[in-house]
């Protein structure tokens, strides 16, 4: 019997709702499901929402009866917001969030590096926005609840997953005892300590770092802007690093590295937390300011990934698939990209529109992304928390030099999470004009947003299927192209056509963007009428042409949906 706590978690700023468990006895007998998503964090819920967008129903299982404890992930990147916009929760994130774009690194009281993340006038979203994870989970949960294709089950803990021939059998424990659930696919979005991963005895590849960090959220009224603050080797914590972030609702995140040899248990004693937070506040000139503890936890940096995310009927995603350091805000931000990718790849396989090679592509692309992140995050981690004497010596030499020498300062850059470019994806078209473009997003790249008018951006118009941007000022999409599009649609391929550059509605297009000033054409490097871009359902580019013809469109569509 699984008995999750029915007591609301404590929090200064968030009122936890305790949901009712889903009980098998109160529901009809369970037929075999298409997809069961295990875990209701960012990865699980975005996967379910993306699946639903493509018309695929899913069951989402949450072991708990409430959202996760503490703020956890607090910094969300522009690409995450673009993904959250696709599943309908970006407005709520924006409403309660604190956007920012500057980061500062301090050493011996001097600001030795200031990062200014670019904010293009064509971007709807800021480089980063701070929102506590409970709010983000609430917004996603509301979206799931409002969707008739998502069957959300609180208090349902997966005890075992047994792989059968072409499906999996789950033993799901609840407050009234276990029931059995069968599903064609199981999405393991059960987090960094994935029970499914352990039970399947899957090994992750990569490195674990020794240093521990305390993460503490305090309520305090600090007169500081929303910018990232990093302090290196301060007097109160020699050799170690401290990070601070402003959160909504009067909360500040303070992360600090523990002295070597100290255990997490020692570090989380209230008197230890108090002494260190007081010391940090004193160092930044706010000694004695009143504060209250909301939540604390301990973290250690790991750069690990499964080498394959698909195992029989089970697909791993988010932290269950890889463990990434917090430096560079890579946990939830990577999970959103995983989930967005998994959602459409799996949906098209479930619907029979593509073969399992499409899932192999998902795994290859996202494992590639994880490995790229691991390389980048490894650099940040070796600077923030040097793993050996040599790395410490180099880091300390850089700190010392940075007081007077410009050339070392870029080493403070912590390489914020950015979307992976699927440059070598098997879905990219071979015979298009990718190499001939002088501007615009290339093969595999995420889209460049473009401001079309007041509160109107290109990405507002995309998603839910493949998007063909066709640049023309003519009154119709050429007949031969329309025929290819109709044939693909008749086979079930979700494909939207957006005409760009005509003042009037274009026949054969679902939408027309006038692009009167030619700005969208310019950003996408399209010099003349007849150019086109094909975007996948995750908006990454898979083909682009200076002049599109029916044969090459057909070839690109065939490549994008391998059988």
């Amino acid at each position: 019997m699984h008995t999750p706590t029915t007591e609301a978690r404590p929090s200064i700023y968030y009122n936890y709702e305790v949901f009712k468990p889903w009980l098998a006895s109160a529901n009809p007998k369970q037929e075999r499901k298409k997809v069961v998503v295990v875990g209701s964090g960012p990865a699980g819920m975005v996967t379910a929402l993306e699946l639903a967008r493509h018309g695929v129903p899913s069951v989402v299982l949450s072991a708990e009866l409430q959202f996760s404890q503490g703020s956890r992930a607090i910094c969300f990147t522009r690409r995450s917001m673009e993904i959250l916009q696709q599943v309908g929760v970006a407005d709520r994130m924006t409403e309660g969030g604190l956007p920012w774009r500057f980061g500062n690194s301090f050493y011996r009281g001097q600001r030795v590096f200031r990062m200014e993340a670019p904010h293009d006038a064509d971007d709807r979203f800021f480089p980063i926005i701070n929102v506590q994870q409970q709010f983000m989970e609430e917004y996603l949960h509301d979206a799931c609840k409002a969707n008739p294709l998502i069957d959300f089950r609180w208090g349902n803990k997966v005890n075992a997953v047994v792989q059968k021939d072409g499906y999996a059998q789950l033993e799901v424990d609840t407050p009234e005892g276990p029931y059995t659930l069968e599903s064609d696919w199981v999405v393991a979005a059960d987090g960094g300590r994935s029970g499914i991963r352990s039970a399947m005895n899957l090994q992750m590849e990569g490195a674990s770092y020794e240093g521990f960090f305390v993460i503490a959220d305090i309520k305090i009224d600090l007169p500081l802007p929303t910018e990232r603050l990093a302090f290196f080797d301060p007097e109160w914590n020699p050799g170690n690093t401290i990070l601070m972030h402003r959160e909504p609702n009067g909360i500040w995140r303070v992360d600090y590295q523990l002295p070597e040899g100290e255990t997490p248990e020692e570090a989380l004693r209230p008197e230890s937390l108090k002494a260190r937070i007081d010391a940090q506040l004193a160092m930044i000139g706010h000694a004695g300011l009143k504060w209250e503890m909301d939540w604390s936890s301990v973290y250690s940096a790991r750069t690990l990934t499964l080498p394959d995310f698909v195992h029989g009927s089970v697909i791993f995603t988010g932290d269950a698939a890889h463990l990434l350091p917090i430096f560079g805000v890579r946990g939830a931000n990577t999970a959103f990209q995983d989930a967005q990718s998994l959602g459409w790849h799996l949906a098209l396989v479930v619907k029979g529109l593509a073969g399992q090679r499409l899932l192999a592509n998902h795994s290859a692309e996202r494992v590639g992304a994880a490995r790229e992140i691991i390389t980048e995050a490894g650099k940040s981690t070796r600077f923030m928390a040097p793993p050996s004497k040599g790395f410490r010596l180099l880091r300390d030499a850089v700190l010392s030099l940075s007081l007077t020498q410009d050339f070392v300062r870029p080493l403070y850059h912590w390489r914020t999470s950015r979307p992976h470019e699927y440059s070598h994806s098997m879905l990219n078209s071979m015979g298009d004009d990718n190499g001939l473009f002088k501007a615009g997003p290339a093969h595999g790249a995420p889209p460049q947003n473009v401001c079309l008018g007041a509160n109107d951006f290109l990405l507002d118009h995309l998603g839910g299927g493949f998007d063909l941007l066709y640049f023309t000022d003519a009154s119709a999409v050429p007949e031969a192209l329309q025929q290819v599009i109709q044939t693909a649609r008749a086979k079930g391929m979700p494909l939207n056509v957006i005409a760009v550059g005509a003042a009037q509605a274009v026949t054969g297009a679902d939408q027309t963007l006038p692009d009167a000033d030619g700005h969208l054409r310019q950003r996408y490097g399209v010099p003349a009428n007849g150019g086109a871009y094909l975007l996948r359902p995750d908006q990454h580019i898979c083909a682009r042409w200076l002049t599109l013809d029916a044969t090459r469109l057909q070839a690109a569509l065939t490549t994008a949906l391998p059988q």
């Binding site: 010596l393 180099l394 300390d396 030499a397 850089v398 010392s400 030099l401 020498q405 050339f407 070392v408």
Partner: protein, 62 residues
Amino acid sequence: MTDKALTIDGLETVYDALATAIDQAGQDKAQLFLVKLALLNANALADEHLFQQQITAALQDL
């Protein structure tokens, strides 16, 4: 390696200056000082491959 090399006089000047600076840095800070110096040299060299060759040379016969 480049064709440029120190003169004997120049090498002797570097020899004395480096020894004096190591003493000046003191036992606790000598290592840190040398790493800072190596980074400054590497930046002036502006050639990571040449620097790697120097690392290899310096690691010999320790």
